[in-house]
């Protein structure tokens, strides 16, 4: 017979005001296996805990039922206290008589008292059959994979590497830098990315503990927190990067010159053999197999002849590398919607209607016009430019219901930079509201309005069309209630942001969730914004939702801090309340494997029996529920245990008190 102690807490009057605690102690004291029952006004207080510890020692208690508040509040408290007194913490269970008995039945003290007794009796049955458990220790791999080489990924990689972790930075393009590398200047400080991003890129490229896997994509991720295995595909570059020096000779000789440059958002062309931009990290060339004459038609081969390093390698040199990492940070960023949509605003059909990202390239000193604002149709300087905000944002009927967050600010910035470039030019901004809720942001917009004389008109544009060499904009000014028709030289659409392509597939590989728009889903929007529901996988930057650079960098450092904390120990400790499989009962049907949401249980091909991965199991009990032979069980929630609990709960004696 087990020696179980029951401790009934008054919780001031929270419990004792309704439940007759003295009667509860008397009744549960009569239960077989209960060696001791006692009540106290505040069991969680220091004297309360000391009393419990004393009783464990004095009376040799082998299990505890703590009848008090919800286990989410004090289960840990009492388990820790019991452990100090030499009792295994998993032999301590909470009987919640506050939320489940005292509070909901305040006007029925008799029924509340009987219910409290029943709950305790049931919990006694559970504790009787509980076994001692020990924290699971899982060794960790002290390295991190960061997916996405934009400013979020770069920041997270640098922080992790500086903390001593080995970092694999995986980027699908041939250079890191992301969207930020394409920007002209950044709000509200008007720093240019060349001044503030390029140094970070170089730092990441030269860091001892960062390995950049450029032109690479994650193919498969297996394993679990602390011990992930990632297959990374190094796509075919057709250029041997060990030999390539980034001299750019292949770019100058390549005859295929009319490919719209991704870096320039199509405002300039690139060649088939190319380095995306001069500050690229790594500074290596790739050959675009889709456009290369040699790879498509077997003709040309001029780059191979001219390459001074002899690096050209027309055979497919793709390879797959398997990495072992302890944590993963997904920093896949955003994509700005392009002119393939928004035909109603002339996008795609009127050459002088461009997206905000395209206009960035016209403003950038590194852009195709060397920072001179010249419009695409005829290369003339536009004297009047209309900026249209909320294109595709806040438009649930047609595009996205959400606000893309950064457009108000970048539009203000672009209008300002346009005025800096074209002093006698006029900029108009059509807006719904101005959302300038960051440090220095409102002042920045005020400066655009008052000092730079950008004309802000509150209203949405209904139509944009070409008329001769000008673009006509129809709108309504909702402040003056007047119909507006503007004839301008150029129109800039502040198009919405959306998740990068392929994020959904990546999320599936990582076993993390996406929301209804495809943004990566955090564990809790407010309190766990960088964690995901899969342990060891974190998210950073605009992959979670649109963010400006300020917030992106902050969140990237946050995600890095989480990864660093996780990997700061040699072992990961996990609660041992997980599933286990009785090897004598298991027939290897694989039901559990199919139903496990965490991929934590699988039939071993050698033994033909299911086995639980202790590192992955979250203890949900799904396998136990689906197991037809009763082999899979949740530790300390065995079938007999649960049935005995139910029996105790329903037994006449207990209920009647």
């Amino acid at each position: 017979m087990a020696r179980i102690g029951v401790f009934v807490c008054h919780c001031g009057l929270n419990i004792a005001g309704t439940v007759d605690v003295k009667r509860v102690v008397a009744e549960v004291g009569k239960l077989p296996d209960v060696a001791h029952a006692e009540d106290y006004i505040f069991m969680c207080s220091d004297p309360g805990q000391l009393m419990v510890q004393a009783r464990i020692r004095e009376m040799g208690l082998q299990g505890l039922v703590m009848a008090n508040c919800s286990p989410t509040l004090h289960e840990k408290t009492f388990r820790r206290a019991a452990e100090v007194a030499g009792l295994n913490p998993y032999l301590v269970e909470v009987a919640n008589i506050r939320e489940a008995a005292a509070w909901p039945h305040q006007k029925q003290p008799e029924e509340a008292t009987r219910k409290a007794i029943a709950i305790i009796a049931s919990t006694v049955e559970k504790v009787k059959q509980n076994i001692s458990l020990h924290t699971i220790k899982v060794p960790v791999t002290k390295s991190v994979m960061v997916i996405g080489g934009g400013v979020a990924g770069i920041q997270a990689a640098l922080d992790c590497a500086d903390a001593g972790l080995q970092v694999h930075l995986v980027e699908r393009r041939s250079s890191i830098g992301g969207v930020m590398a394409s920007l002209s200047e950044t709000f509200p400080t008007l720093d240019c990315p060349q001044c503030i991003l390029t140094p970070k890129m170089t730092q990441a490229g030269k860091h001892d503990r960062i390995r950049i896997h450029a032109y690479s994509e994650v193919e498969e991720v297996t394993g679990f927190v602390g011990n992930f295995k990632a297959k990374v595909r190094h796509k075919a570059t057709y250029i041997d990067w060990k030999k390539c020096t980034g001299c750019g000779v292949c770019m100058t000789v390549c005859p295929t010159k009319k490919i719209p440059s991704e870096y320039d958002s199509g405002m300039a062309d690139r060649t088939a053999a190319y380095i995306p931009f001069p500050q690229a990290v790594p500074n290596r060339a790739v050959i675009d197999a889709e456009h290369c004459l040699y790879l498509t038609k077997g003709k040309c081969g001029i780059c191979a002849k001219k390459c001074p390093a002899g690096a050209i390698h027309y055979q497919d040199n793709a390879s797959v590398e398997e990495l072992e990492v302890g944590a993963i940070i997904a920093a896949t960023g955003l994509e700005v919607m392009g002119t393939e949509e928004f035909g109603e605003y002339g996008a795609g059909s009127i050459p002088d209607v461009v997206t905000g990202l395209q206009f960035e390239r016209l403003l950038a000193p590194s852009g195709p016009t060397k920072g001179k604002v010249l419009r695409p149709s005829d290369g003339k300087e536009p004297k009047e430019v209309a900026f249209l905000q909320c294109i595709g944002s806040r438009d649930p009927e047609n595009y996205n219901a959400y606000c893309s967050k950064v457009c108000c600010m970048y539009t203000g910035k672009q209008a300002m930079l346009y005025k800096h470039a074209v002093h006698d030019g006029q900029a108009y901004v059509f807006y719904i509201d101005i959302r300038s809720d960051g440090k220095g942001y409102e002042e920045f917009i005020q400066r655009a309005m008052e000092e730079e004389r950008v004309l802000y008109l509150r209203g949405k544009v209904s139509k944009v069309f070409q008329d001769g060499d000008r673009v006509v904009v129809w709108a309504v000014d909702t402040l003056t209630q007047r119909w507006v028709e503007l004839r301008v030289d150029m129109v800039v659409l502040a198009t919405a942001s959306r998740p990068s392509k392929g994020v959904k597939e990546l999320a599936q590989k990582l076993r993390i969730a996406t929301d209804e728009h495809g943004w990566l889903k955090e564990a809790h929007l407010k309190l766990q914004p960088v964690e995901t529901l899969t342990a060891g996988i974190y998210i950073a930057g605009a992959a979670q939702f649109v963010k400006d650079i300020t917030d992106t960098v902050a969140q990237a450092s946050g995600a890095a801090a989480k990864a660093i904390a996780l990997l700061s120990k040699d072992f990961l400790e996990r609660a041992p309340l997980i599933a286990c499989v009785d090897q004598d009962l298991c027939v290897g049907c694989g039901n559990c494997e199919r139903f496990c949401a965490y991929g934590a249980i699988a039939v071993d091909p050698v033994t033909g029996k299911a086995a639980v991965n202790e590192g992955l199991c979250e203890g949900c009990g799904g396998c136990a529920a689906h197991c037809p032979s009763g082999a899979a069980t949740l530790t300390n929630y065995g079938k007999k245990q649960v049935f005995d609990m139910i029996t105790a709960l329903l037994s006449e004696g207990a209920v009647q008190g």
Binding site: G343, E344, Q466
Partner: protein, 298 residues
């Protein structure tokens, strides 16, 4: 053997827009389709069914759909954009809300219950989705080469979203038809702008202002003809030109025609079947001039 399709004419096609019906029937006959109207069709519901939120005003369109159901047909074609719109909206309304259908059926107790499942099509949809541009092109005997036309859609073909037969802002269907007929199609940014609609009754000045913008833009683009599919648009744009002319000095008129008339021309049907006799600004001279010039050139 011609395929017979139930056809809903509506009021204007029996009065002001006789030519629209005449040319549509003639052109479709050439393509192997017979537009067959039935006895006892009633008003389509017109603007009343669109402007009110009750079920009472949906009785007229639903009653017409019951007439289609009686014929054992699963589709009905309208040529008037407004008729298309009201019938289609009523069909969608009862499809999406069985409770509303039940109420309407209860009210129309002297009729057979409407069961839904009648597809309402505009003639342009039939041409695009059933007949196909290739079949149209194959029937052309007198390509409209050299004839510069601006397609004008107005509102009821493309709004609201649920019943739009094409992209709401950049519709193509009439562009594609006219191109198949060999015409030189000119795109106008005003192609879905409002013609003034029923303001023709109370505020003809608004209609004149709206139509002036549409016609002036067409004229500026060197257009020979503005092409429409709506009798109300046609009325405002065509008859309304007198008022514009008296208000705007130097305004030169542009003839306005139904797309079906140009099909009849391109199919080389007798002039009596073109349906242009009722036009206010006569389009026949410019058609004759352009097509003759082409013949001489050829």
């Amino acid at each position: 053997m011609a395929t017979t399709i139930p056809y809903f004419p509506g009021c204007t096609c029996k009065s002001d827009a006789l030519g629209f019906e005449q040319s549509s029937k003639a052109a479709l006959r050439e393509l192997g389709y017979e537009l067959k109207e039935w006895e006892r069709w009633t008003c389509c519901g017109t603007v009343y069914s669109m402007a009110s939120d009750d079920l009472m005003h949906q009785l007229a369109p639903v009653r017409n759909l019951i007439r289609v159901q009686e014929q054992g047909a699963d589709r009905v074609v309208a040529i008037c954009s407004m008729c298309y719109n009201t019938l289609r909206q009523a069909a969608d309304l009862v499809r999406d809300d069985p409770e509303k259908l039940r109420k309407i059926n209860d009210y129309l107790y002297d009729e057979v219950d409407f069961k839904g499942g009648v597809r309402v099509m505009h003639l342009l949809e039939l041409l695009r989705d059933v007949v196909g541009w290739d079949a149209v092109r194959a029937r052309v005997r007198r390509p409209l080469k050299g004839l510069k036309v601006v397609p004008y859609y107005g509102c009821t073909l493309v709004r609201p979203k649920g019943v739009a037969i094409d992209d709401r802002e950049q519709p193509r269907v009439m562009h594609d038809l006219l191109a198949a007929l060999g015409a030189e199609v000119v795109d106008s940014p005003f192609k879905v702008e409002c013609c003034g609609s029923y303001e023709a009754v109370n505020r003809p000045d608004i209609v004149a202002a709206k139509c002036h913008r549409i016609l002036a833009d067409a004229a500026k683009r060197g257009t020979d003809l503005v092409v429409t599919s709506c009798p109300l648009c046609e009325f405002n744009l065509d008859e309304g030109q007198d008022r514009i002319r008296s208000a705007v000095a130097g305004f030169k008129g542009v003839p306005v025609v139904y797309f079906s008339s140009l099909m009849a021309v391109a199919f080389d049907l007798p002039e009596a079947e073109w349906g242009l006799q009722g036009s206010h600004v006569d389009p026949r001279q410019v058609i004759a001039a352009r097509l003759a010039a082409k013949k001489e050139g050829a």
